[in-house]
């Protein structure tokens, strides 16, 4: 409802917006050193915070730890609960696969099983990508499917691939075959509702055939599936917000979410410096540029406090360049928290700053969790970020008389 109101108020403009998403930004105190943001020497982000309205954002809701899909959708102004996109769909979009409304997608992993079918390695020793490509071709050549059903198997890096089934009346509410651990057999793909029964049968047949096709391969003699989901297109960023948008993200997942909302997606870059270089080069061509930094999240997931601190300091060095581009609205935030101490995503609200001539300054003196908690924006839902951005970009008209 609120999304609909927002959409009805958007107007065209020539203001420029930059959304810098530092993945897994928020942290927790660890070993008496404060949080990662507190431990990091980030003078430029601190300065920026002093010139901005600050707050904390909640990706999905109090206490809810989000995946990257929902947390990014929220940042992009799409209710993450109403638009719960399956991992499979995000992966397919991430590899640039053109999904249709007749498609069900799933993540696929090559794996190693023993003679009894017990999983020994969920990643088949991270086989080389070439081997992955060869095996996908082999499978596609031999798979037999019911009349009217098409299948696609798109190799990604190493052991990863994406499965897409295309046909009429396919549905994606099907349980994972990947048990997410070793020492057990793959699970059966079960329909989670009536309408997905037919699709689950097809998946079961696909799984059985793949097992047969791969049986003499080594080490990739099995395939595991998870995140089955039917593709349902979303209204695009351009339709909703009248923004021509570019995503500068290095990882397929984030490129996938960006494609899902209709952003242009720049090819992946080798490192952060190259990403910021792209930002500079493409800044004048777009109304809205989303730049995604991954390494804060991966170092957090690895429990590597020091590395996360270093990545934050690396990001900090690029902030003056970003500011010097002169965006009308600059937002720096994260999609969720990934405290090194937890080695995983967490539910903790995420530091947020918005800099524009119309953002009220507050008393925040640095870019940390605690400082932002005292910011003038308070703690608010991430799904409201786009409304705040559009308002500050003067791209919203008045509601009601």
């Amino acid at each position: 409802m609120k999304g609909k109101i927002l959409d009805s108020l958007t107007i065209e403009g020539d203001s420029k917006i930059i959304l810098l998403v530092i993945d897994g930004l928020g942290g927790l105190e660890m070993d008496g050193r404060g949080t990662e943001l507190e431990a990091a020497h980030i003078p430029n982000l601190d300065d920026l915070a002093r010139e901005s309205s600050c707050g904390l954002i909640e990706p999905v809701g109090k206490g809810i730890t989000p995946g990257s899909g929902p947390s990014h959708l929220a940042l992009f102004g799409y209710d993450p609960v109403e638009n719960n996109i399956g991992r499979g769909v995000l992966s397919a979009l991430g590899v640039g696969f053109k999904l249709t409304e007749r498609d069900v997608a799933a993540r696929a992993n090559f794996a190693t099983v023993d003679r009894e079918g017990i999983i020994l390695d969920r990643r088949a020793g991270r086989i080389p990508t070439d081997e992955n490509i060869r095996l996908c071709k082999k499978i596609l050549n031999r798979l037999r499917l019911p009349e009217g059903i098409e299948v696609f198997l798109e190799p990604e890096k190493e052991h990863r691939a994406v499965l897409v089934l295309r046909g009429d009346y396919l549905f994606g509410d099907i349980s994972d075959t990947d048990p997410q651990r070793t020492g057990v057999k793959p699970l059966d793909p079960l329909p989670l509702n009536r309408e997905s029964e037919k699709t689950a049968q097809i998946v079961r047949s696909v799984v059985d055939q793949i097992k047969e096709i791969l049986k003499d391969e080594d080490p990739a003699n099995m395939m595991l599936f998870r995140g089955f989901a039917k593709y349902r297109p979303l209204p695009s960023f351009m339709e909703r917000f009248k923004l021509k948008a570019l995503a500068i993200a290095n990882y397929p997942m984030y490129q996938g979410v960006a494609r899902l909302v209709g952003m242009d997606v720049h090819p992946p870059q080798r490192d952060m410096a190259a990403q910021f270089q792209v930002l500079k080069e493409r800044f004048s061509d777009y109304d809205f540029i989303y730049l995604h930094i991954k390494e804060t999240d991966s170092s957090g997931e690895d429990g590597d406090f020091d590395r996360k601190v270093r990545v934050l300091e690396d990001v900090d060095r690029f902030i003056p360049e970003v500011v010097s581009l002169g965006p009308d609205v600059l937002v720096v935030t994260g999609d969720h928290s990934t405290p090194a101490r937890l080695k995983s995503h967490s539910w903790h609200p995420v530091p947020f700053l918005i800099r524009s001539p119309y953002a009220r300054k507050d008393r925040v003196r640095g870019f940390t969790e605690l400082e932002c908690a005292g910011g003038i924006l308070g703690t608010f839902p991430a799904v409201d970020v786009m409304a705040l951005i559009l308002a500050n970009a003067k791209r919203l008209t008045k509601f009601g008389a």
Copy 2:
């Protein structure tokens, strides 16, 4: 849903409530002087803030700039999105016109057009009110309408009037004929949905006839219409909250919203002092008195920082009188922000204070945007204000066992 729960909990009482609405209260830093509230010398409001629970309210939602209609409805406890009232209805109620459920209303302006029908002046040189009255009569005498349709044309001040069409199956989703600028012709009244087609036809006939009737007049030789809306009565303040309520507001628009929710409306006063005098005189007769100060908003709209500061200081001088009446609950807030720097309504949350024996005091030391942001109430939706008022007035019973 939340509104329904609230209504089910209201109980009678003899507590007294004052809601002081300082229109366009919130501001923005300007010329290094801080915000209007920061620049103003308002010792009484500052004292009040120290004795109160403070916070910031959001009229409609993060980033949304509201019109006065929705922002007042929210303050009065009516969801501003579910109850999006058209400008025409508010204007009709504002002039005291008794609308029925068969009515569609619109704002009307006398205007000047040239021989080709191009608009030269959207206000017909702000014709005297007497001339307005004469022209409205002339039009009504000559207008011919389809069987079963009645028409009313209520003069307001200068060039302004209200059009009301009454009949069965009339609907108000019709586009404006007022293009809101000069140098172009008036627009055609177009139906915005199927059910409004018949009404749009009638409006078109009315517009054509008025053009003919006024053709020899000077300067008011045309009429422009905007804000068509069907009247849908709301459950009254009395029904919902068991409060006998009075509005002390000088402008038709605010009187209109007050009438819409069934408040008594005091006749307009010549100035702020007279309004506070009425408050004193009628205080014992009502459970709830809403007093509306307009000049903060108009000075903000004019971009006149200094005048807005002066009006705030004027209001401040009446605060001790208000306090001395001894209301059980006193709320001071605004309907929305109107920063002088923006010369318009804005989306920024609005300072809010509630003083009652049961409102927790916080660390707020003055009545400013930034101080209120650090208040114990945080930032919250304006539609929740009435629940907070009723609770502090001991006019709500417990929810559930």
